[in-house]
């Protein structure tokens, strides 16, 4: 029996007169890779922002591991096991690679600020563990050698990887990737495909991603949701989506002779 990690039920997001996402229902099972695709302006990022708490949905609710997280603050949602990356990379730019990954573990810290400042033994133990985990993660992602570099000085691809490493450092059960392959060449995006699958298996994650590179999407997704003008127009396996008329019309337009 599969366990639902993410459930989005009849969610609508309205900005004034504009309905950005209309009555969206979707879900992701344990260790499933689900993709959310659609033409520009279809409402994918809005859906992401509702799930991660940046927006509060006008109608409907979102649940993570059976817990209702609708309208919760992003940091609370992160504490409950949801991590994300950003479409336009948002690293802690002035800090080192190592610091980026260590900071992302702050939410698991149990010591309070005074105990931390006074370096009580419990804090020291927790702190040491943070650095050990950071070493593990950075080694896994192949970034350990550049741990001392300022994160904004890394090449683009490495910054994307660091964002994933930082998200993993929060110890999530659900990982949301907002266009992880944006700006990558075919070789890099092939590497990324392997990485995402590896991360899913290694960290026992459920993954939801937005992506425009169709080869990446078709390669790794177990299930695909297609949005167009805020409406869900199709759900299915990669093969089903590729053969779906509504999807083809949304992406390529309607043949004038038929219309």
């Amino acid at each position: 029996m599969t366990r639902k990690v993410l459930e989005v039920n009849n969610v609508t997001m309205q900005f004034g007169g504009l309905i950005a996402v209309n009555n969206l229902t979707m879900s992701a099972d344990y260790q499933e890779i689900v993709a959310l695709i659609g033409p520009n302006g279809a409402g994918k990022t809005t859906a992401f922002n509702m799930i991660t708490g940046v927006y509060r949905p006008t109608v409907g609710h979102v649940a993570l591991n059976k817990e209702n997280i609708t309208g919760m603050r992003p940091d609370r949602i992160a504490q409950r096991g949801m991590a994300r990356t950003f479409q336009n990379i948002r690293l802690f730019k002035a800090l080192t690679v190592l610091d980026n990954v260590v900071i992302a573990q702050h939410l698991r810290l149990k010591s309070n600020w005074l105990a931390s400042t006074l370096r009580l033994p419990r804090y020291n133990a927790e702190n040491r563990l943070m650095y050990e985990r950071a070493e593990e993660l950075l080694t896994y992602m192949g970034l350990w050698d550049v741990r001392g570099e300022i994160s904004s000085s890394l090449p683009y691809g490495a910054q994307r990887k660091l964002e994933i490493a930082r998200a993993l450092a929060t110890q999530p059960t659900m990982l949301l990737l907002d266009e992880p392959a944006a700006g990558m060449n075919p070789a890099e995006s092939r590497e990324l495909t392997g990485l995402i699958q590896g991360v899913r298996d290694h960290f026992k994650l459920t993954i939801l991603l937005i992506e425009h590179h169709m080869d990446v999407v078709m390669d790794i997704s177990d299930r695909i949701y297609v949005l167009d003008y805020g409406n869900l127009i199709a759900v299915g396996s990669p093969a089903e989506i590729q053969a779906n008329d509504a999807v083809i019309q949304a992406y390529l337009g309607v043949d004038e002779d038929e219309a």
Partner: protein, 365 residues
């Protein structure tokens, strides 16, 4: 973790660095002790103590403005709270009765006196409480709005002080505050503040504050509760500003609401910007430079004769020079002396190496 980050071994190791720091501190303590015993010039000793007070005040401001990236201009208000609390709790009861002529001082305070350290801490705690009340609405704002709101609240505190006659003696201010701000107290508090800030900013909480400074949205998505952490930083900053204000009251002997105008905030801000927003060692060095510099430039306020040109003295000319200096720093060294970095012994070693290298190149050519 700085040890791990340095890839090539340059300069002294960790043990040597600690030893050098200890040696520097010992040298500093010895110097202060000798100065206290040997220098009879009250003026020089006053400036020496003011340097230490400014270290405390600058570090307090650096925590919120430099490390957390919140542009707050409420410093003078928090200093005022600390200064008045310390003054009211240390002035002897007989002097209080004499001073409050228009309206007598409110009940428990008129006879209550506390030991100096207890008064300082109370002042700090009250400033932190003020920060909590101000932070509630203000910390939800961003950037310029927050700066304007904190500036406004700081002025409100000043106006309240001016009008709360039975508590603060209004516009007449407070006199005969016991001169507790000795070299030992001022430098002791400064050292405590340095150590506290160094430990806080390198702890997980300090790292989270830096993350907020770098990217709020990303920090929140990584599970850092923004409001809660900003409030922590704001209250701690106010606490140390309050303690610094208390020291300043004991240092001056008299205080009035007029001392705590926006200019006071700008003076401290200048130290912080000059030293580098987000650098503890920068603030410390800059506190010495600015405090001594402001005194040294005092001759500008007096009569000046340059060749055939003569003025009888323009009061405030040194502030004009300082403003120009601040402009130059902001235009050419936007990050101050150290930016967000700290002065380290290996850094000193490297700059000496560079100097030697330059010398050698000079010889070769």
């Amino acid at each position: 973790m700085a040890k791990m980050a340095s890839k090539t071994k340059q300069g002294p190791g960790a043990v040597v660095s600690v030893a050098l720091t200890a040696a520097l501190l010992a040298l500093m303590a010895l110097l202060l002790w000798r100065m206290q015993a040997g220098i009879k010039d009250v003026y020089i000793m006053k400036i020496t103590r003011l340097c230490a007070i400014n270290i405390t005040l600058a570090l307090a401001m650096n925590l919120i403005n430099g490390f957390t990236g919140i542009f707050s201009l409420g410093h003078a208000g928090f200093m005022a709270v600390g200064a008045y609390a310390t003054a009211l709790l240390t002035i002897p009861a007989s002097n209080k009765a004499m001073m409050f002529m228009i309206a007598p001082l409110v009940k428990p305070l008129d006879t209550l006196t506390l030991p100096f350290p207890a008064a300082l801490i109370t002042g700090g705690l009250l400033a932190a409480l003020a920060a909590y009340l101000i932070g509630m609405p203000c910390l939800r704002l961003r950037g310029d709005y927050l700066a304007i709101a904190t500036l406004g609240f700081s002025e409100i505190i000043r106006v309240l002080i001016m009008n709360a006659q039975p508590l603060t003696n209004g516009a007449m201010g407070l006199r005969s505050i016991p001169a507790n701000a000795t070299v030992a107290w001022t430098y002791g508090v400064a050292l405590f503040t340095i150590v506290f800030m160094a430990l806080l900013t390198t702890s997980s909480y300090g790292r989270a504050l830096k993350a907020i400074r770098d990217d709020e949205i990303a920090a929140e998505s990584m599970g850092v509760p923004l409001f809660n952490h900003k409030m922590l930083s704001f209250m701690l900053s106010a606490f140390f500003a309050g303690v610094g204000g208390g020291l300043l009251a004991a240092y001056n002997g008299t205080i009035g609401q007029d001392m705590f105008r926006v200019t006071m905030t700008y003076n401290i801000l200048m130290i912080v910007v000059m030293g580098g927003m987000g650098s503890i060692s920068g603030s410390v060095i800059s506190a010495f430079v600015v405090t001594i510099g402001q005194e040294w430039l005092r001759f500008l306020d007096g009569p000046i004769t340059v060749g055939r040109f003569h003025t009888d003295g323009v009061v405030g000319l040194r502030m004009v020079v300082f403003a120009a200096l601040l402009l130059i720093i902001i235009v050419f060294f936007r990050n101050g002396l150290f930016g967000t970095k700290e002065a380290t012994w290996s850094g000193v070693w490297r700059s000496f190496g560079k100097l030697r290298g330059l010398g050698k190149r000079g010889e070769a050519a």
